[in-house]
Structures are given as structure tokens and as C-alpha cells.
């Protein structure tokens, strides 16, 4: 779960380096994509984004645009120093690579062969699935002490109430609200219930502090 291969697109639209920028732009438009890996004899030699393509050509209305679209080739504008990812990389690693390089996609390469592409939209989709935001549920934020068993304890309260947990995400530690208390972590639970009133009461009784929802 949460590997690049789980979220990448496998049907990849590619181009040879000697294709024109005009054709490449048309391809982006038709297929509604923004990133095109460039292949030469099956080997990944570059990647080009719709932004690279557009910034290399004169703007709409410019008389030289039509000619430029036919004359400039993909190899003139592509990035040939390609940052890629492996299918078994964790998706957070791919996301971090994109963030550090400020790029929107990574070709996925295995044994020298291009097997897919992962984009920032794929990472977004993975996030939505990860937090269960596509399933009905209530979102609860709970601060738990940064101590062994805290997460299990909070989760157990939901189990006791018969409420199914759709997702749980725990954040980094933070200073506690009360002076002298142990550091805490905030956990975001998505739970399959419309009525959180009872479980909020039990969580507070058990000593967890419920940041959301507020008590009525």
C-alpha cells in the first residue's frame, strides 16, 4: 500500500525527441495531460511539460507562432536530466522528490524500462484515499500524549462504541497546552458515524483531549 506502483498511471503517452513542439502541445491538449516522457529506441532520454512547451513558443496571436510550432523540436526544450522514481518507492518519497525538485511528475523506471508516470495529481488522489475522504464519515481531531499505547487507547474507545474507523493519521509531536504535561501528538480520525457526541464524552473521560468537534 502507498507505493508508487499503486498510484502511477501505466498507460503512458510518450514522444520521440524529434517530434515537433506543435504535435506535443496538441497531444497534451487532446489527452488532457501535462507531462510527456521522451523515448528514443525505448530508452527514456528526457521529459517535457506543457509549460516547457508553451514557454518555448511565441504566444497566441504572434505571427511567428505557427512556424515555431513546426520548427522547434521536443529535444530542444525537454529536460534531459530526468529525475525518476522506482515502482516500489513509497509514495511519500516520490512526493518529496517532486517537492524538492519543484516538478509535477516523475517517470517510473524499472530495469531501465519506462513502466509508468506518477504526477502530483496521483499523489493528491492517494491522499484522499488515505484519509478516507471519499467515504462518508466525520472528522475528529484528538490530542494524545506522546507515549506508548496512546493511539491504541484512543482507537479502542471507538471500538468500544462500535464505531468503525475509516482512517487515522498521526502528526508530529507538539508542545502540550498545559504546562508540565507530556508532549502530545494530534491524531485525525475519520470515523463512520454521524453522531460523535457519545464517543467524545468517552474519549474525554479517558483523558484524551478532543480538539474537534466542540461539545454542544
Amino acid at each position: 500500500m502507498l507505493l508508487v506502483k499503486d498510484s502511477m498511471t501505466r498507460e503512458i503517452v510518450t514522444l520521440p525527441p524529434d517530434e515537433t513542439v506543435g504535435t506535443a502541445l496538441a497531444l497534451c491538449r487532446e489527452r488532457r495531460i501535462r507531462h510527456l516522457p521522451v523515448l528514443m529506441e525505448g530508452r527514456l532520454v528526457g521529459i517535457v511539460s506543457d509549460r516547457d512547451l508553451r514557454s518555448a513558443t511565441p504566444a497566441f496571436g504572434d505571427q511567428e507562432r505557427a512556424a515555431a510550432l513546426q520548427e522547434i523540436l521536443v529535444e530542444d526544450v525537454m529536460a534531459s536530466d530526468v529525475v525518476s522514481s522506482l515502482p516500489d518507492d513509497p509514495i511519500e518519497q516520490a512526493a518529496n522528490t517532486m517537492r524538492e525538485h519543484r516538478i509535477g511528475s516523475l517517470p517510473v523506471v524499472e530495469s531501465g524500462e519506462l513502466v509508468g508516470i506518477i504526477t502530483s495529481s496521483d499523489v493528491m488522489n492517494a491522499l484522499v484515499y488515505l484519509v478516507g475522504a471519499n467515504e462518508p464519515g466525520s472528522r475528529m481531531e484528538i490530542a494524545v500524549p506522546d507515549r506508548p499505547g496512546s493511539l491504541a487507547g484512543a482507537a479502542g474507545v471507538f471500538g468500544m462504541c462500535g464505531i468503525n474507523i475509516v482512517s487515522a493519521a498521526m502528526g508530529p509531536t507538539r508542545e502540550p497546552k498545559e504546562e508540565g504535561a507530556v508532549r502530545e501528538r494530534v491524531v485525525v480520525f475519520r470515523v463512520d458515524t454521524i453522531d460523535t457526541t457519545e464517543v467524545v464524552g468517552y474519549l474525554e473521560e479517558a483523558g484524551y483531549s478532543v480538539l474537534w468537534p466542540p461539545r454542544p
Binding site: S138, T193, I194
Partner: protein, 390 residues
């Protein structure tokens, strides 16, 4: 009555069987709220000319216009005390939200039958407006119970009307505090069904869906209108958002019938949500829907209930106000003494003596201006990205 002759006739669909839809114990969805509301209407003299119209249960054929048969069979099984709990859970049954109760299929099918009957009365021209306060179970999914809702009454009624009146265009307007997800998804690609859901943002609140970007699929793009409001939104901001979106959406759509879900759980006193509305909102919304129905579709309007979990102080007054508007009657100022004396001993909270909330009892929260501004931003986005596609 003069008012009746001027602006249409009304019917109320109800019978005791509809009050069997409830989950027992201290579950928040308590059918007592329906009883309290209707007894208040009666005590206020608002039912004198309007005997209850009774209705039968929805048939399996009705239900399977939107639900899958294996789900219906599972609900039937559950209501007979049969069925394996693990299987039931796959259908959202047997959870704290949707516990199993005896004969639950029959009770749920009655609610659907009530709303279907109300819709048919209106479409047959036997009445202009109809109300079935037990309806409004908008979270029920195709194959899953969700958020206190087992069968989706609006979904079934809309599907049946589409069969019975080919080409009909139905506007579903949902002002419950929770997103009308079940109904929205059932007609997500259908440009003949406009679904408008204006309520608390799903950022935290169940079911979580209903962002502005959920605007329909394929041919239905533009026909799912979502206006998420910030927690703690008050009447003022809510009403201005409603006015900015709903009339324009309905005019652009041109419905043949308006079906409204009138949940009243956005009230400040509601224990399950975080909005700050008062009875003012719950008069404003039906008033405007009533006007729009007369302007756009010959008055054809069916109103249902929905959420509303302050069953003592809010639901009875909000739904009496709804009935007053549906039936063109003046809403009395005071809660009936008879009703108060019958129920005040049983209520765990003090019952309000007036039908309308006093604004002084609901002071503005600290961030009113900020919330209103954020809500208006959502409205701008809806107008620009969604209404333009209708």
C-alpha cells in the same frame, strides 16, 4: 379559506405507521420528534382543515429503482432478526448509527411510500403542495444504510416520477445541516434532476462530501450544486448565501416540481452539528421555496423533514412553521398551552413559550464577519463554476 383559494391547496401525508421509523433507546433519531411536531400543529389549530392523507409502503419494485435488491433483502432479513452481523455491517446495518430494529424494512418502506404518495398527489394535480415530515432520509446509499437513513425516500420518489412523467425535471433542495450525499450520488449524471445542498462544510462534519467541486458528472455537470457553510454560520449569512444561489439555480433549471428536504439540524441548539441558525432560517427557506414553486412550476412543491436532533425545542417549532407555509396558514406567535402542559413534564429541557426564537437569546459569535466572508467566497465559486453550467 381565502388564502387557500388564492395560492393553492395543501395536503399532509402521515399516519401512525410512519412513526415506527426509529432506532429505539436513546438513539438521536427519535420518531417522537414527528409526534411532537404534528401534535403542535394540531394544538395550534393548523390541522383542522387538513386530515392526514395516509399512504401504503413502498414496494420492492419502488425501492429497487435506486437500491440494489440484495440490500433490500438484507434489510428485510435484519428486521426479522435474521442475518449475520458481519454481513449486515457490509451494508451499514447494525452500527451505532443504523441499529437494527424489528420490522425495520416495513417501517422504512412506509416512509418512502409516504413521500412517494405526497409527490404523486402533487403531480396528479390533486393538491399544489404536500408535506411528509417523516421523509428526508438523504444519506441512504444504493446498497448501504448511512447516517440514520436506511432507504432513500427522495431518491425513490424522484426515480418513480421520472418513470411516470417522462421528461420531468425535478429540483431537489436540501437545507439539512448535513450534505445530501445519497440523493446527490443517485442522480450525479442526470441533468433532469437538480440537487442543491446548502449546509455545514464537510471539512469536519459527516459525511465529509459536498465540496463546491462536486458539481455533477458527464451530462449532469452543473446539476449538483453544493454550498458548504462554515461551522457557526448564523441566519444572516446563511440566508444571504441561500438568496445568492437557490433562486438563480432554480430559475436557470426550470423545474416541474420542487422537492425540499427541510432538516432543521442547523439550529444553534442542535447537538450533532455546529451551525448557529434559529427559527428565522426555518421560516425563510420554506417561504422562498414556496414563492419559487409558484413562479417556476405551478406551485408544485413537496416538503419533507430530515435531520433535527433537538427534538423538544427545535424540531416541533421548525416543522410547524414549515407546515404553516405549506398550507398557507398564519403561524401563531405562542406555542400552544395545551401542548406545553402535555409535554413539558416529559421534556428534559425547558420548552420555549414562543414559536419564534428571540434573536437576543442567540448573540452573534466572535467571528461572524469572517465566517460570512468565507461563505460568500464559496457562493462566488458556486455561481461562477457551477450555476453557469446549468
Amino acid at each position: 379559506m381565502a388564502a387557500q383559494a388564492l395560492s393553492g391547496r395543501a395536503a399532509i401525508v402521515h399516519d401512525l405507521a410512519l412513526e415506527n421509523y426509529g432506532f429505539g433507546g436513546d438513539h438521536p433519531f427519535n420518531p417522537l420528534r414527528v409526534r411532537l411536531a404534528l401534535e403542535l400543529c394540531e394544538a395550534l389549530g393548523m390541522l383542522e382543515d387538513y386530515p392526514f392523507v395516509s399512504s401504503g409502503p413502498a414496494t420492492d419494485e419502488d425501492l429497487t429503482t435506486v437500491h440494489i435488491l440484495s440490500y433490500v433483502r438484507m434489510v428485510q432479513k435484519a428486521g426479522r432478526g435474521a442475518g449475520d452481523l458481519s454481513d449486515l455491517l457490509d451494508y451499514g446495518l447494525g452500527t451505532p448509527d443504523n441499529p437494527i430494529f424489528p420490522d425495520m424494512h416495513e417501517a422504512c418502506a412506509r416512509v418512502v411510500g409516504g413521500v412517494l404518495a405526497a409527490c404523486r398527489l402533487v403531480m396528479a394535480g390533486e393538491t399544489d403542495h404536500a408535506m411528509c415530515i417523516s421523509g428526508g432520509l438523504h444519506h441512504a446509499m444504493r446498497s448501504r444504510a448511512s447516517g440514520f437513513c436506511v432507504y432513500n425516500d427522495a431518491g425513490v420518489a424522484i426515480s418513480r416520477l421520472k418513470e411516470e412523467h417522462p421528461g420531468i425535471r425535478i429540483a431537489y433542495v436540501d437545507t439539512d445541516a448535513h450534505h445530501g450525499d445519497g440523493v446527490q450520488w443517485m442522480f450525479y449524471s442526470d441533468p433532469d434532476v437538480l440537487s442543491v445542498s446548502m449546509r455545514e462544510s464537510g471539512r469536519y462534519l459527516f459525511p465529509g462530501s459536498g465540496g463546491v467541486d462536486e458539481k455533477g458528472r458527464n451530462g449532469g455537470v452543473g446539476y449538483s450544486v453544493n454550498v458548504p457553510l462554515e461551522p457557526f454560520t448564523d441566519d444572516e449569512s446563511w440566508i444571504s448565501c441561500f438568496e445568492a444561489v437557490v433562486p438563480e439555480a432554480l430559475r436557470a433549471f426550470g423545474p416541474d416540481l420542487i422537492l425540499s428536504q427541510n432538516g432543521c439540524d442547523g439550529h444553534a441548539l442542535d447537538p450533532l452539528t455546529h451551525l448557529s441558525a434559529t427559527t428565522r432560517l426555518y421560516e425563510h427557506v420554506p417561504h422562498r421555496i414556496h414563492d419559487l414553486a409558484h413562479h417556476l412550476c405551478g406551485g408544485r412543491w413537496v416538503a419533507t423533514g430530515g435531520g433535527g436532533y433537538d427534538i423538544w425545542r427545535v424540531a416541533p417549532r421548525a416543522w410547524s412553521a414549515l407546515w404553516a407555509i405549506v398550507s398557507h396558514q398564519e403561524l401563531p406567535e405562542r406555542v400552544s398551552e395545551d401542548w406545553l402542559s402535555k409535554w413539558s413534564g416529559k421534556s428534559p429541557v425547558e420548552l420555549p413559550p414562543l414559536m419564534r426564537d428571540d434573536p437576543e437569546d442567540y448573540p452573534q459569535g466572535p467571528h461572524v464577519a469572517k465566517l460570512a466572508e468565507r461563505n460568500l467566497r464559496a457562493v462566488d465559486e458556486v455561481v461562477e463554476k457551477v450555476l453557469s453550467r446549468i
